[in-house]
């Protein structure tokens, strides 16, 4: 029974970290793509969207190749910092992060592109620095669109299975998240555990989705 709650708290921890990291990286990427005039920006956009289209197991395999103990990056991390991402919850965060990344940067890019450049110019002639303009004009106006993306990313990270299983495995209490625990429970015939896990996951996901749609609705109302 209590193992279900351990899996839930682990899932929330992993999804929370993945969302927090995406808040910074996804918003920065979205802002960059919205503002840059680089010719390769649409190609970059497509490349960064790949994690949404590719099968998570393939993504997990790539990650294993990239950060596994035998890889250049993986052995460097281990030799210099003693960090190993394989079979750890941090590895699960990395997997969730990458899978959910497009769900943050794409709406962020769209939200930034909607902000009228004239409002930023108005800030400029009123004497504000570029940093102040970002935090006082651009970000507040794009914020609801970004938040909706973050909620979806959180839900996606919560449900992450394939890539996480490949890189972090399924160690109960350490890397066994909710969605992996459901699979294990069904495999070993523990129906009551599976029922509970499924119920918890559904409630969390529905809450997240309802919040996301409520946010995007009030966003539209404010713009009108």
């Amino acid at each position: 029974m209590s193992s279900a709650w351990i899996a839930l708290s682990l899932s929330l921890k992993v999804a929370g970290w993945a969302t927090a990291i995406n808040l910074v990286l996804g918003v920065a990427t979205g802002f960059f793509l919205a503002r840059t005039r680089l010719p390769g920006r649409d190609l970059l956009d497509s490349l960064l969207t790949l994690p949404m289209v590719m099968p998570p197991t393939v993504l997990g395999y790539y990650l294993l190749v990239l950060v596994g103990r035998n890889s250049t990056l993986g052995s460097w991390l281990y030799d210099n910092f003693g960090i190993s991402l394989i079979f750890t919850w941090q590895g699960a965060v990395l997997a969730s992060c990458i899978v959910a990344f497009p769900l943050v940067f794409k709406p962020a890019r769209a939200a930034f592109e909607e902000v009228s450049p004239q409002l930023e110019q108005a800030g400029r002639v009123l004497g504000l620095s570029e940093l102040s303009i970002f935090f006082r004009i651009t970000l507040p106006l794009a914020w609801r669109g970004i938040l909706a993306g973050l909620l979806l990313a959180f839900a996606r990270a919560l449900g992450e299975f394939g890539a996480t299983l490949m890189i972090a495995g399924s160690i109960p209490g350490r890397t066994q998240t909710l969605s992996i625990a459901v699979y294990e429970a069904v495999q070993s015939g523990q129906d009551s555990t599976a029922n509970l896990l499924v119920l918890i996951t559904s409630v969390v996901c529905i809450t997240v989705l309802l919040s996301a749609s409520w946010l995007s609705r009030s966003h539209r109302r404010r713009q009108a």
Partner: protein, 227 residues
């Protein structure tokens, strides 16, 4: 009051536009007059620091804002110029009061809804906006919006005011009223105002000096000297 000579070429895949102007004028009220697409708005953006000329110089109200030969180019935020955008560019996420107080507050945070400021109170009173101060821009009438935008710009005690077709978004009766209010304001504040317009009424009513622009070139000047 203003002395400038500048050149700016804009290129897009579809068209190439060149603005090439030089004039000097000592009147406090200057109207830049010309058909749409003549380069009026571009001129205003160059004055305000929102675009950079390719060459030339700009001197306004006793200060050099731009001089290509001496590598001077004050950024928009240091020009101390009030800029009234055609559709006002009020911040939609802030109330009228917060919009007016916007430039007074430095740093990364916006002024709060109830920010205390004598200057804000004075401008609200001057423009009869007290009752509307806690409304958001979309809740304001056209005239209130314009007065909020003006107050937001003038509270910074600018050295000059630039107005981009300030009356085009208003209905005719209100238009005349705002014309009068603006003219009064100019004589009270006694700072240079440069307005762009394609409305002949503004020629008679507002202007002391007029610069006519056509297709990016100076087509005529009243009360000024071409350079």
């Amino acid at each position: 009051m203003i002395e400038l000579q500048l050149e700016k070429t804009l290129t897009s895949p579809r068209r190439r536009f060149q603005l090439q102007l030089g004039f000097t004028c000592s009147d406090q009220r200057l109207l830049v007059y010309g058909p749409s697409g003549s380069g009026k708005s571009l001129l205003l953006q160059l004055l305000g620091g929102l675009q950079t000329p390719d060459s030339g110089y700009i001197r306004l109200a006793g200060r050099t804002l731009f001089d290509a030969d001496h590598k001077i180019n004050l950024p928009a935020r240091q020009r101390r110029i009030a800029y009234l955008f055609q559709d006002y560019a009020l911040f939609p996420h802030l109330t009228a009061r917060q919009n007016i107080a916007f430039g007074l507050r430095r740093g990364l945070l916006n002024p709060g809804r109830n920010i205390c400021s004598q200057a804000v109170d004075q401008w609200l009173e001057r423009f009869s906006l007290q009752d509307a101060q806690h409304l958001y821009p979309y809740q304001l009438s056209g005239g209130q919006r314009q007065r909020t935008a003006l107050a937001r710009a003038l509270i910074m005690e600018p050295a000059a005011v630039l107005l981009d077709e300030p009356f085009s978004a208003l209905d005719p009766p209100l238009r005349q009223h705002m014309r009068e209010q603006l003219a009064t304001l100019q004589s009270q504040l006694n700072i240079p105002m440069i307005m762009i317009s394609h409305d002949p009424v503004d020629l008679e009513f507002f202007a002391a000096a007029v610069v006519h622009i056509e297709n990016g070139q100076l087509a005529g000047i009243d009360n000024g000297i071409p350079i």
